[in-house]
């Protein structure tokens, strides 16, 4: 998609977001109100300026790609996003180590990594290091492991 158009949409979204926060900030009592109102007000002005920049560029330059970062594969990004959300949900239900042991190879293989053996070895080694650091050394109370009771 056109980069300038994309940025314009983002600017509109950001403006709306800060306008909402501005409204919220106006309701605060006394001294607590000054800074939030000032900051969100400034942010609204800045995001409007940003939007204006994009609009001008859009009218002038049409669809010039500019010097932005390299384009990427939207499908791959979608896979990453879904994997991250499922992983985070999994931590709460399956436990941290279980989810990690599943997520790590699953994500790399679904993105085209083909060496199963290395993936599994790395996963297990990594999980062992994490276990040593977080459970044994730092004794962080991670969410309980439901599948591998013996690890938790």
């Amino acid at each position: 998609m056109n980069r300038n158009l994309l940025e314009l949409l983002a600017a509109i979204f950001v403006t709306a977001f800060f306008v909402y926060l501005f409204g919220e900030a106006r309701g605060y009592a006394g001294q607590s109100k000054v800074m939030p109102v000032a900051v969100t007000g400034l942010a609204v002005a800045l995001s409007l300026a940003w939007g204006a920049q994009c609009s001008v560029a859009l009218v002038k330059g049409g669809g010039a790609a500019g010097t932005g970062p390299a384009p990427f594969d939207l499908r791959r990004l979608a896979i990453v996003a879904v994997a991250v959300v499922v992983y985070a949900l999994g931590i709460g239900t399956l436990g941290y180590f279980t989810s990690t042991i599943i997520m790590l190879p699953a994500l790399s293989i679904s993105l085209g990594y083909r060496n199963w053996l290395v993936a599994i070895l790395v996963t297990l080694g990594f999980a062992a290091v994490l276990y040593a650091v977080f459970r044994l050394l730092l004794s962080v109370p991670l969410p309980a492991e439901t599948l591998f009771g013996m690890v938790g």
Binding site: A29, G30, Q31, S32, P141
Partner: protein, 331 residues
């Protein structure tokens, strides 16, 4: 007295449970008699490494020792929102005696008063009081004020000129000054900071006139002579600061301070409650624990579940009355 009824209540429950067990009706009760049979989680509503956390972790080994049964207690830090995150977790935990926690008054009392909290005091069963750290006022020697009478006189001459630092709006330090203002018709100027360390630094640097803190935090400054402590807000002088007079001795009826205590979700089995309360008492009489507490400068003050419940209730009434008259945070 409420304490007595509570105690009788425990006894009654206890007896019925024993009776039930002998009759073999509740098989679970027999297991409960061996409380604790699995690890207990202790929720600390403040960060690891903080004052409450270190005190809790110092107590834990002794609590384990006197609970017997190879008890094991795992400390779990749930910091956030001035303790509300941890208190809420505790209040909503399963009331089986395997989740206990440190509760800190006045925070646990004032939070539901000053905002829509996610727990109420009805959800919490006080177990035992461990630490009571009386409030205290500190002032630089150069100010030429040595006792409360002089402070009040000075404040009356210079209304609203005396700046005092606290660890934040609604803290026990803040409430203490508010009560003094209310009862003696004086007006100070409140300067909230982000914690006691900042208040102390601001006092020592001469940026504020007076610090409202807890006595344990000022006792070494007082011994060094760098700060004059005007008084401590306890009923009797804390033994760690025996030369600092109480407010009451000086004719100011203010008793306020910070409690660090054990609590549990309401409705935990009576046996668990009794065992925990008793084990805490024994732990707090253990010479090794006492030595550790002295090193850390903890102001120990044991109260059993009954006494402590009564004390919390009366504190709660006091804060509610104060709030109704003079809300301490902006609405």
């Amino acid at each position: 007295m409420q304490f007595k009824t509570l105690r009788e209540d425990f006894m009654k429950k206890h007896l019925t449970r024993i009776a039930a067990a002998t009759l073999g009706i509740f098989s679970a009760t027999a297991a409960l008699a061996e409380y604790p049979e699995r690890p207990i989680t202790m929720i600390v509503a403040y960060s690891a490494g903080g004052g409450t956390d270190v005190a809790a972790r110092t107590l834990v080994p002794y609590l384990e020792k006197y609970l017997g049964n190879d008890a094991s207690i795992v400390v779990s830090n749930k910091p956030g929102a001035g303790g509300e995150v941890g208190f809420t977790t505790l209040a909503h935990a399963k009331a089986d005696g395997y989740t206990i926690g440190f509760i800190n008054a006045p925070n646990i009392l004032t939070i539901p008063i000053q905002r829509k909290a996610r727990y109420t005091m009805e959800d919490i069963q006080p177990v035992a009081n461990v630490v009571y750290d009386p409030g205290a006022f500190g002032i630089l020697p150069s100010a030429g004020i040595e006792n409360l009478d002089q402070l009040i006189a000075y404040a009356k001459e210079n209304p609203g000129k005396v700046t005092y630092g606290t660890a934040g709006a609604g803290s026990d330090d803040h409430l203490a000054v508010l009560s003094l203002e209310r009862e003696h018709g004086v007006k100070f100027r409140h300067v909230p900071f982000n914690g006691n360390a900042d208040v102390r630094a601001a006092l020592l640097g001469g940026h504020i006139k007076m610090a409202s803190m807890n006595v344990t935090e000022m006792v070494s400054d007082s011994e060094e002579g760098t700060v004059i402590v005007l008084g401590q807000m306890s009923k009797e002088r804390w033994e760690g600061a025996a030369n600092i007079p109480t407010f009451r001795e000086q004719g100011y009826d203010i008793v306020m301070g910070a409690n660090r205590s054990l609590g549990a979700p309401a409705g935990i089995p009576a046996e668990a409650l009794e065992k925990l309360s008793a084990a805490t008492e024994k732990a707090m009489n253990d010479p090794a624990f006492l030595a550790g507490a002295k090193d850390q400068g903890l102001a120990l003050y044991y109260m059993n579940a009954g006494d402590f419940t009564v004390s919390l209730q009366s504190l709660n009434e006091g804060y509610k009355a104060l709030w109704a008259e003079q809300p301490w945070i902006a609405q």
